[in-house]
Symmetry: C2
Subunit: 311 residues, 2 copies
Amino acid sequence: MPLPAEFTLIAAFRPLAAPEALALQDDAAVFAPPPGRELVVSADAIVAGVHFLPEDPPDLVARKLLRVNLSDLAAMGAVPLHYLLTVSVPRATGADWFAAFARGLAEDQARYGLTLLGGDTTSTPGPVSLSATVIGHVAPGRAWRRSGAQAGDALWVTGTIGDAALGLLALRGETADPNGRLAGRYRLPQPRLGLALDGIVSAAMDVSDGLLQDAGHLARASGVGVQIEAARVPLSAAAQGRLELCLTGGDDYELLLAVPGDFGPRLQAACAQAGVPVTRIGRCVRGPARVEVRDASGERLVVGAGGWSHF
Amino acid sequence: MPLPAEFTLIAAFRPLAAPEALALQDDAAVFAPPPGRELVVSADAIVAGVHFLPEDPPDLVARKLLRVNLSDLAAMGAVPLHYLLTVSVPRATGADWFAAFARGLAEDQARYGLTLLGGDTTSTPGPVSLSATVIGHVAPGRAWRRSGAQAGDALWVTGTIGDAALGLLALRGETADPNGRLAGRYRLPQPRLGLALDGIVSAAMDVSDGLLQDAGHLARASGVGVQIEAARVPLSAAAQGRLELCLTGGDDYELLLAVPGDFGPRLQAACAQAGVPVTRIGRCVRGPARVEVRDASGERLVVGAGGWSHF
């Protein structure tokens, strides 16, 4: 019964829609960007069995989909505005799945202040495959970039690193997670939106594919070397002693920030105001655009092979 | 080898990128909409085995992905500007697949005048799953809608109806297609962009899920009845005698237009200027928001069950 199913789906998503979505009834949405602002857009896909577990609750999957995308807006210093969705699910997927999925979207729409513009739902003979395109806005010319880091900048990171990678292990029964906190970090990233860091950071990006790999992206984009002091990387109690996993594991969705040395106190004040922990973990140096990890005595450590990737 | 693969992929897509995509190197793209214009956005997903055949050439798949999305912009009277992509492919997918896929994108970017803003590539244990979000622009308040049809309007459609559905049959070996024209209609839609119909059409939409089903959407959105004269529906020579399939088959990607009676000649002139055939197939009437099909003598025909859907 394709036609009733389509109506049911659109009815499930309609309460999420912006006025600009035209009640999800037209071929596209029409919207006017906020006057005097630039738009920031990003798209990410997540697939069952790759980015989330097939048995994860649909509302959490929906929220993860939004949040991995919102983390990209956070990394650019943008304010969320709208999103579009594509949802490919097995034919047998029931209305209850969509209701739970829409409930998760509604919760995080309200939390992060964005609304649905449109999208597409289709069947797939494979696993649940989802994508979102998020649209945010910034003051013209003020988006944070990966390429602005200078030799001499300090390198900072928000939150703790590695808990999500441990959470995935916990969900697989491969490590302890008595209160489910680690699993929660894997299932539900916390995009670091709303930090008033304009004029403070010289470069920013989100940490999604592992700190080492992502720091390498920042190093190459900026043309600087990056030195990370292993002992300074913020690890939760559960992550103590698992440095290699934490440095290479994915799904942190924290922000990696390059900050001129003088601005450390301003950075700390701005993060404190938002209730976001921030830790200085190293610095940018002249030299080859690569990442070095050093121990407390300044000796170079050799760690894994470039980080974990979804691919 | 996740890291080299990611570099290879970004290198394949970088030539497609708009300057606003920041070389696909940041977490998001930053762009300023054209001054004084509204933005029109739509997202569609296509999945191997559902919307295209697993053995279809990657360049054609890429072009179909763009074109099904561009058809939504065409339906709103919008001018294409940018797009974002998500690409989920089996792990074993080689660089040659991506090269061919990017070649198809490049060809249709040039043809339709849009550029890549960003996206995401990931692995999937399932079939190739693709999505695109397209962004276009219109003069403020001038986007065409499905909801504007009035009783008394004539109903027109571009091109021919049903060839793509026949093309899918042909690709399955279930109907003849000596010169491959029908298969071509299935594999490579022709989005009807660039028609100067502003001020002429009272409602518009694209025909993607079958003429009958889509005419029903227009009827409900506008609150009018729709009467289609079966003998007037434009069928190619290959489609003669297969009316039911043609009225319910998907993937036409033609435009369905409601046009005040007096404006027929202006519509025909505007379509002729763009080299696009257009045919009057019926009219909008007062009464229940549903679709009736009538034969040449005005008798009502009963056809299938509401059209074919991707779902």
